[in-house]
Each structure stands twice: as C-alpha cells, then as structure tokens.
Amino acid sequence: MRRKKSERLRRRAGAVYCGLIYAFLFLPIVVIVVNSFNATESKPYLSWKGFTFDWYGRLLQNAALLDSFRNTLLLAAVSTILSTIIGTIAAVGMFKYRFRGKSVIDALLYIPVVIPEIVLGIALLTLFATVNIPRGMLSLVLAHVTFCIPFVIFNVRARLDGYDQSIEEASMDLGVGRLKTFFHITLPVLAPGIGGGALLAFTLSIDDVIVSYFTNGQTKTFPLKVMESIKSGVAPDVNALSTLILVFTVLLVVLTQSGLIRRLRRKR
C-alpha cells in the first residue's frame, strides 16, 4: 500500500519535472506566437490587449522585412545546393581514393566547425576585402557555402560507412557505364545522407547571424534585420513572420517524421 503511494508520488514528481523542462524550452516560443496576435502597441508588449491579425497585415506591408526574408531564402537555397554538391563529391572522393595528406585534410575539415564563428566571419571579411569580392549576396553565398560544406561531408560520410563498393562494380558488371552507375546506384543509396546534409546546411544558413554580419555589405538577411529591429524590443510584425516560419518548420518536421512523404512517394 505504502509502496504504491510512493510510486505515485515519484511519478508525479517526474511529471512536474518534465513539465518544467518543456516549459523552459517552449515558453519563449509561446510568447512569440501569442504576441504575434497581441493588439498592444506599447513596448515591451508584455500586456495582453486583445486578439488581432493586424501584425500579419502589417507584415505584408513591411517591404524591408519581406525583402530580407526573400534574401535569406535565396541565400539558403543557393548555398545549400552548392555546399551539397561540393560536399557530396568531396565525401565520395575521400571515401574512395587514398592519397597523400588525406588524414591532414580529414582533420582540417573540423576547423570550420569548431572555430568560433566570429573568427570565421572576420577571416572571410578580410579575404573578401583582399581579393576584392564585392560584399553582398555573392560574398554571403561564398561565406555560407564555406561553413556548410563540412557538415554535408560529415553527413554523407556517415552514410558511406558500411557502403559496399561492390554494388558499383555489380552495376558496371551488368553493362552500365560509370556515369550512369553513379546516378542510378551511388547517388540513390547515398541520398539519405545527402538529404540530411542538405537539410542541415539549409538550417545553418537560414539562421546565421554572425558570419553574415561580417560579410553582408548592404544586403540584409532576415536574422540581421531582426537583430536590427530588436534594439527597441521585438517588433510585432517580426513576431508574425517568426510564427509563420515556425508553423512551416513544424509542418515539415511532422510530415517527414510521420513518413507521409515516403508513403506518397511509394504510391507514385
């Protein structure tokens, strides 16, 4: 009897503990979402003044904010594509071939990952200034590709672990040339690793502040724009856009986790 009681107590304590952790994690996000519907005008927007869609309307008129968001999407897309292509080729090459200095190159890959972003930012800015690359979208893409590549390589390489190269030989054995073998055998088998790397690169690029801050020139990305505007508290239309991004992200996660995409693909 007593044992049952203490068991119940323990469970309750566990539940409370978990609840606190989740509250800590999610409360800030909830505040953002709630504030995006909050009709208050007075900063720092801490009191609830009624429900409104105004901020979403305001967002659509905030050309600078939308512009920065468009920049961020474009930047993330381009640097994801480039870093995924470069990273995949690098990972496959480093897996397949032995060459001198391979271990050094292997070790060097970790540098961009562990190096403080601020150092990377300064270094890139110096580089761009020295070789006269105009600061703007081009320099941003170059910078983002730089710090995304290692992550793509790590992801693809994890997939290559345990990859049986004889399946490529089997393909050639069946009369299929090298290039076709790459596209029909190597690439599909590595796809999960490549996809994971690309997703990671996209995520890293889309919310990067520090490196972008050093290399953006006049081009404003969404995180930079937000940074600028929070000097006077988070603007409500930023809340609105953040909420929209949040909804989109959560939707994407739910879709992939539930295997819906895979099911759809199989049907096709």
Partner: protein
Amino acid sequence: MSKHALVQIQKINKFYGSNHVVRDLTLDVREGEFLTILGSSGCGKTTTLRMVAGFEQPTDGKIFVGGVDMAEKEPYERDVNTVFQSYALFPHMSVFGNIAYGLRMKRIPKKEIRKRVMDILDLVQLGGFERRMPAQLSGGQKQRVAIARALINRPKVLLLDEPLSALDLKLRKQMQLELKRLQRKLDITFIYVTHDQEEALSMSDRIAVMHDGMLEQVGVPKEIYEAPASKFVATFIGETNLFEGMVSAVDGDAVSVAVESGTICGRAEGFQKGEVVAVSVRPERMRYSTSPVKGFTIQGVVREQIYVGSVLKSIVVLPNGHEIKLERLAGDVLPMDGPVYLSWQPQDARLIHPRDQEVYHAVETAVME
C-alpha cells in the same frame, strides 16, 4: 584460338606495388565447363577472377574471352557477369528491380523485361519474391537473387566469387547442387572461385589449384585428388600423410624411397635414384595390422581414435614423434597405445617431385586438417 577455349588467360602477372599476387598464370577455360579456381585466401584467385571481369587490370599478360582481347574493354563492355561474395545487391531496389536493372539500362521493352525476370525468378526458385527488398531476404535468398541478376544478361561466362561462403553448411550443400544443376541446364561456362576443397571436388568439371599467385595444377577432380602434382596440392585437397626422403632404388615403375622410419615403396615413373621426393599416402589408403606383416611396414603406436559416424579416424605416432593419420570404415576399434604396423599398396602412394620454392626434409610429416 582453339575452338573450345572460351576464356584464355595467357601469362598474366599482377603486382600491387611490390606485391606479386598473380605470377605467370596461364589457363584455358573451355566452353560450357565448370572450372573452379581453388586456393587458400590470399593466393590470388579472386584477383584473377576480377581481372577476367575487368575490375582489375593485369600488370602484363593477356586475357581473351571468345577470342577477343579484353585489354581495352571496360567491365561494362565484357560478355561476362559476376556473382559477388557479398552479393552486392542494390539495397534501394526490389528483387525485381535488381534483376531487371541491366535490362532496363539497355532499354529493353518493359514487357520483355517482365517476362525474362519472371522466368529467371522461377529458375532460381524465387517466384513470388519480386516485390521484396534485399533487406527482407535471407542469405540464401539474396544469393539466388544475385545469381538471377548475373544470369539475366545471358552471359557467355559467369564468374562466381566464393558465392556460398556466407551460408550455413546445410544451405551451402543445397546451393552447390542447385548451382551445378543451373550450370548444366543453361550450358553457361562457370568460373568459380572457392577456398573450400570439398566444394571444388563435388561441383567442378575441372579444378585449377592456385598457391602463392601461381597455378599449381589443373585437372579433373579425380586427378587432383589422386595424382597431386605438388606437395601443396597433396596437402590442400583432402587429408594426406607426407613422407619426404630420397629415392633408394628404381625397378621399372617400382620405386623405393628411404625415409627416416625405413624404406617405403611407391609406384611411379620418371624418378631416378638419389632424387629427393615426397611421398603422399591418403589416410583411407593406409593399411594397418596389429601384428607384423610381410614386406615393408612402418611401426607406430595408436594415439587417438575419433569416431565421426561413417568412418573411424586414428592417429598413429611413429617412434620419431610424427603422426600418421589413417581412416577406416567404422568397425573394430584398435587397442589404444598398442603397436600397429602400417603399410599400403605401392600404387596408393603418390611420388611428388620437389618444386623450386619447396624445401624438402628427409623426414616424414603427417599433414592434417
């Protein structure tokens, strides 16, 4: 090109750096035959097979398939197909996709692909499995898919690289029979690589024994087992007792050899007095008696007896400490630690010339598994 040699391997050498893995190998494979390349791991047998497939290039020498020089041919241009040791199934394709892959890439009409895949699935007894993914198959089933995939292109030669080594004993026996059946039915030339001498003996039309990158002997299984050309072949295929000594007398085809334990005899031609030789006597050819016999004998003591069902294996120790293996149909048990007199029919002893790389000692040794 002789009419019947489908694959000709001519004096090929292969180096990996300074590592000489295949030495001066010359081998003809006849049309429609089941040829096994047998050797222990690292003997160059797989490398040889991969050179025929085109995955490796010989350092020098030539390979012809159907009379065509393969030197400039990429793997995908050769009329041979391979069954890989690891199966090498495409993990992202179903059984059907795996088998149809080669045909699809050749843009063969869908209807024909379907028919051919279904036919070959029936042939390897995997009808109804076409929608399974490789991960959902057992080892034996994967093996069948790999075979079906390699056969669908109707190659002139099928190369098999230790295809059964990952299967358990029972399944392996069953697949051996099935492979043999397939080979006869399709009348395709098989080049089969294995380290399993039993597998080689039971399946092959001819066996090529390789050792240290060199071809030791090529012949039908009976020849290989009963008339080994070298010490290595004698000891690698089956169990044998080896005596090393010097030819002491030659009288026609009766040869006497002096070994440490006395003089033994064999029947052979082409040996001269004074020559150093090895004499191989199979355990099942050994005769024994518990009392002294006429003619030559070697005396020893029964050390161990092992009952393995169909036969009784005994180990006899000679005075000089060497162990001799004998094998009898299960029957009477010899008295343990009792004296035993060994002998054999002269024709059951095989005399072997030494090879350059082999060092012979004038003592006898028993070689066991």
